[in-house]
Amino acid sequence: MINSAPASPPAISSAWPAGFHPGGAPTEAAVRTVGLRKTYPDGTTAVHDLDLEIRQGEVFALLGPNGAGKSTTVGMLTTSVLPSAGQAQVAGVDVIRRPAIARRGIGVVPQRNTLDRSLSVRDNLIFHGRFFGLRTAEARIEADRRLEQVALTAAAGKAVDALSGGMAQRLMIARAVLHRPAVLFLDEPTTGLDPQSRLAVHEIVRDLQAAGQTIVLITHDMLEADQLADRVAIIDHGRLLALDTPAALKRSMDADTVVSVASDADPAALAALLTREIPGVGDHHLRSDSVLLTVRGSDHLFTSISSAATDAGLTLRDIRIEDPSLETVFIQLTGKDLRD
């Protein structure tokens, strides 16, 4: 759907495979941070000395719970948050020293709807193109092309307020890629969308990815990160906890089994009982109606859990081994659920 050709002249080209550069020069990272830190005036440090390298053409997910520092990180990379320390480059341009130049290589879909409500759907795109230095005629052509790509041609003349949430989000993505940025930042692009709109956004992201667009995806949705991302960085309390492909992150869980146990009893009491009675229980995590346990080794797990519960006079409703997922990885790393 979306064909995001590299900008001309591109700061870096995403048309070539990662690691390859026609000039033979080493490929620059699409995003690089060294010791990036943000301490707000109230003293809270939202991001601690973050070192990241995001490759050209990859979809890179920043996964973490609310307040983990994801949005602050993206704010720093997109020049709207001033770092307290460290360095950051996007498409080879220093975002701290040369923010105006760096913005040329940056496309942002913010968490909130920031569409210009005083302008029509089409004018939102045309003016965005003109803000990025396109001539009006060029901006019109680009706007129409992008509208078609996100299936909004029929809504071109509409007021932005008339759009559904999903349509508005598609328009925001079209706007963010209109100037052909080297890196597209998507800040929780599907939060609050209905399932169908969510799929539409995912499809657009996949099309962009296929066209070689580097994408930084901020999400607290593990499934989304698993489905879309080439690599996932798990962050919490402003620190990078793990960084790998979704498959490798899940493999790292192999030694442990994650089991969910549901009973009529208080989850906290159940967790205490099982931690005491079952050998090899590491972390536990309380959900509203069940307990999630990380257990080393899985021999006779069902039997030992059910007999421990029976001995204590508890009735179990369900015991289930959970497939390793980014959620279980996350719980193991942070001791908490992403939905917390």
Partner: protein
């Protein structure tokens, strides 16, 4: 901490300069497109208040006042003419610049996309001020005919073109810069209170309804008025449009330029602080 100003020298390459100019042009065009799409909004905020004031103070009051002869009515109309033009320009600065910014920073965040344009953030603020000033001038042109025909008597007109053509843009810039300053300094919760506290004395003690020289009997008000930037706008237009007594232009120009510079500087600083955390 480095800010956007650090990026300024790098935009001097001709290609980049052209793109920057196009971007600033687009920012102006955006505001004027919005204006064109909603002409009734523009007219409502431009015409209604001056029309009412002209009607009440220029027609009703002089007509019912005992002993007012036509000469006295003409003097009233002449005084009001300059004041009304000053008032509408000030309104544009507030309604075209301050109010949208307060909304943007308060909840809509619509300006975010413009702030992400590849130009220094200060230019986004500056473009907003220029668009506001252009709307101020346009509003003045719309109100000017009203100010001649609504009052009970025709005002004495005496155009001083060199003054008009230089003072009007400077006055519009100052009012628009005031809009930027207030729009970035106030938040949406305090805006109504602050407008009432600031705007009312600004408008009514800004020599819009009487000439500054006429304040001589109340010396302290006359002195206090010198701190009101609108005084210089009203008195400047009095010099540009009418034969009436007015503050010396040797005072009006530098003070307006000074207010403009300070308000722009502080407004841009606040603007940068609001968009960068």
């Amino acid at each position: 901490m480095s800010t956007d100003s650090a990026a300024l020298p790098t935009t001097t390459e001709p290609m980049e300069m052209a793109a920057t100019c196009r971007a600033v042009g687009a920012l102006l065009a955006r505001d004027l497109t919005v204006l064109r799409a909603q002409p009734s909004n523009f007219l409502a905020r431009t015409v209604v208040q001056p029309l009412m004031l002209l009607f009440v103070l220029g027609y009703v009051a002089p007509t019912i006042a005992p002993g007012q002869d036509s000469a006295a009515r003409a003097v009233a109309a002449t005084t009001l003419l300059a004041g009304m033009v000053a008032m509408v320009i000030l309104f544009q600065g507030l309604f075209a610049v301050a109010m949208p910014l307060i909304q943007d920073f308060g909840f809509t965040r619509e300006i975010e996309d413009r702030v992400l344009a590849p130009i220094p953030v200060a230019l986004v603020a500056l473009a907003k001020v220029i668009a506001g000033a252009l709307q101020g001038l346009l509003a003045a042109v719309v109100v000017f005919p009203l100010a001649q025909f609504v009052p009970a008597a025709r005002p004495d007109l005496q155009f001083n073109w060199p003054v008009l053509l230089t003072l009007a843009p400077l006055a519009a810039l100052m009012c628009s810069a005031l809009g930027l300053f207030l729009g970035t300094a106030l938040d949406s919760r305090s805006v109504m209170a602050m407008f009432a506290i600031l705007l009312t004395p600004l408008l009514y003690l800004g020599c819009t309804l009487y000439p500054w020289s006429g304040l001589a009997p109340i010396r302290w008000v006359q002195v206090l008025s010198l701190f009101n930037p609108l005084t210089y706008v009203s008195e400047g237009f009095r010099a540009a449009l009418t034969p009436a007594d007015h503050l010396s232009l040797a005072v009006v120009y530098p003070v307006l330029a000074g207010f403009s510079a300070v308000l722009l500087w502080q407004g841009i600083r606040h603007f940068q602080r609001r968009v960068l955390t």
